[in-house]
């Protein structure tokens, strides 16, 4: 469920006809569409090389360029315009499929795209993003904040936060296109292929991720959930209707888990909606803090850091993006010490951990639904939890991630060398779109983060459960278990 949808509860928009497609399936379609277009480059048909790419810059004229040299005549501004037009067209078709107001969506998306991308360009300014002394020398500068280019995501979050907290009317005007869940799911589908190309280089390490993924499921559902539920019920005196979605939001995967649990236990719809608002606020806080903490403490344990991001940062968007920022910071720090790790492993590990956790949400919601409808609020047979709800609540975008991963792995390992050598560049073009969807996600998360919620009487107690559970337990247990499984394991060296 999108966060835009969350804000629609109780509004006239909620009365629109049911869409033929949900955001999950839409994300799969858009992600696969971009992935397939990118793959055409494997046979030398460059269909999406016009997508805009941003480099660290000191001269604004050098900031933007098309991803592929085949489209160099387009120039940076042309590539940016082409990217905007293409994304607006594709996402507006998606909005139509979701039965959203297409004109409103297109206008809102225009604002979202340009503000978010402008933040990204600013964040790539050399004084913010340049990392190594060599880079500083290249740009002729004597100082830099060393945030790395992916640190520029933070600028997108901050732009969103300013709008959410200081320009609430503008935030309301663009809410049709503020859909972080949709954007991150598209990005994750594309990321599957990118991670496959990375993993192809060291399959043994990739397979050990499976064990860590299973451990993540045990941690999130069986340990975190039980502890947070107990804390909410026993220490803070919340009712079952509030405590269960709250426990799922804090311990599992944020918004989608809170919504799934609320539905499963037949809570009033507004309960998980409110919990989700809180989840987003805390996810932003985590994204702004944890990647930097991980880079400071775990630069020499890159995979511990990435697994930690996947487990500790809630909501798919924030967790995956935190993995991206952590990767950039950690790779830069190691590069400065002369160690160059292959890119992709830290981001890929954080994403895989998150995907493993997401897979189980339908089953967990069914377990809770069964207990609630049979033992706690015993309901009529027609309203009891049914096994088919497992599939209904299964996050379908995971199918897209698995498909692109398998196809990417096959192309990288199962095709003749002359074909396989084109695969990284082809998937790299699709991956440029993944970066843009990350930017849109970051900005959207910022726009949805209304920090005023934390100070409102009544809701402050919900926030207190979150603070106690997240920073008193979830974050540290996640770190400890990530350490047990990954310490001493490093990504392959580049080149």
């Amino acid at each position: 469920m999108s966060n835009a949808a969350l804000t629609d509860v109780g509004s006239p928009a909620a009365a629109r006809p049911a869409p033929a497609l949900n955001e999950d399936w839409l994300a799969v379609i858009i992600g696969l569409f971009i992935f397939v277009l990118g793959l055409a480059a494997v046979v030398h048909i460059d269909l999406i090389g016009w997508v805009v790419n941003t480099s660290v810059w000191i001269n604004p004229g050098n900031a933007l360029a098309p991803a592929s040299k085949n489209y160099a005549p387009l120039g940076g501004a042309g590539a940016l315009l082409a990217t905007y037009v293409a994304l607006t067209a594709v996402l507006s078709l998606g909005a139509a499929a979701l039965k959203a107001d297409v004109k409103r969506f297109a206008l809102a998306f225009t604002a979202v795209f340009w503000i978010a991308y402008a933040s990204w360009i600013i964040g790539n300014y050399a004084h913010f993003a340049a990392v190594t002394p060599a880079e500083q020398q290249k740009f002729g500068i004597s100082w830099s904040l060393r945030l790395t280019n992916e640190g520029a995501y933070i600028f997108a979050v901050i732009a969103g936060l300013i709008i959410a907290n200081f320009l609430p009317r503008f935030a309301a005007a663009i809410k049709e296109a503020v859909r972080p869940e949709l954007y991150i799911k598209v990005a994750i589908v594309i990321l599957g292929g990118f991670f496959a190309v990375t993993a192809a280089g060291k399959l043994s390490l990739a397979s050990s991720l499976v064990l860590r993924g299973l451990a993540a499921i045990a941690e999130a559902y069986l340990i975190y959930w039980a502890v947070v539920y107990y804390v909410a019920r026993k220490w803070f005196g919340f009712s079952r209707e509030w405590a269960a979605p709250l426990a799922s939001g804090i311990s599992i995967c944020g918004v989608s888990a809170a919504i799934a649990t609320g539905g499963a236990i037949r809570a009033r719809p507004l309960v998980p909606v409110l919990v989700s608002s809180l989840v987003v606020v805390f996810a932003v806080t985590e994204v702004l803090v944890l990647p930097f903490v991980s880079a400071a403490l775990l630069a020499h344990e890159p995979l511990v850091a990435s697994a930690w991001m996947g487990l500790a940062v809630k909501t798919d968007g924030a967790a995956v993006a935190a993995g991206g920022i952590a990767e950039s910071l950690i790779l830069a720090k190691n590069a400065a010490e002369g160690v160059r790790y292959q890119p992709g492993w830290i981001l890929g590990t954080a994403t895989t951990i998150k995907v493993f956790i997401d897979i189980f949400i339908g089953i967990w919601a069914f377990v809770l639904g069964y207990i609630w409808t049979n033992h706690i609020n015993v309901t009529a047979d027609s309203n009891k939890a049914k096994a088919r709800e497992i599939w209904q609540r299964f996050p379908k975008f995971i199918i897209g991630f698995v498909v692109t991963f398998i196809v990417g792995l096959y192309l990288a390992l199962g095709t003749p060398a002359e074909v396989a050598k084109n695969v990284p560049a082809a998937i790299g073009e699709a991956n440029t779109f993944r970066v843009i969807f990350f930017i849109l996600t970051f900005f959207s998360i910022g726009v949805l983060s209304d920090f005023k919620l934390l100070w409102q009487e009544g809701f402050g107690r919900l926030a207190a459960v979150y603070v106690v559970s997240l920073f008193g337990f979830v974050v540290w247990v996640g770190l400890a278990i990530s350490w047990i499984f990954f310490h001493g394991v490093t990504p392959p060296l580049a080149g």
């Binding site: 045990a218 941690e219 502890v227 909606v273 409102q456």
Partner: protein, 50 residues
């Protein structure tokens, strides 16, 4: 979410009476923790051995 709905929810959260933990909730918490810890131990051992 409208202002009136938010204030109703705030009111409800302020005035909610405490619901004691039911035996089924205690079982859910206890069994979850027990299975979770055993699973983690098994997976950590497998990770170490493989």
């Amino acid at each position: 979410m409208s202002e009136s709905t938010q204030s109703e929810l705030r009111e409800e959260l302020r005035n909610a009476s405490v619901e004691p933990l039911l035996p089924i909730e205690k079982k859910l918490i206890g069994w979850s923790l027990a299975i979770g810890l055993v699973l983690l131990a098994v997976l950590a051992a497998a990770n170490y051995l493989l």
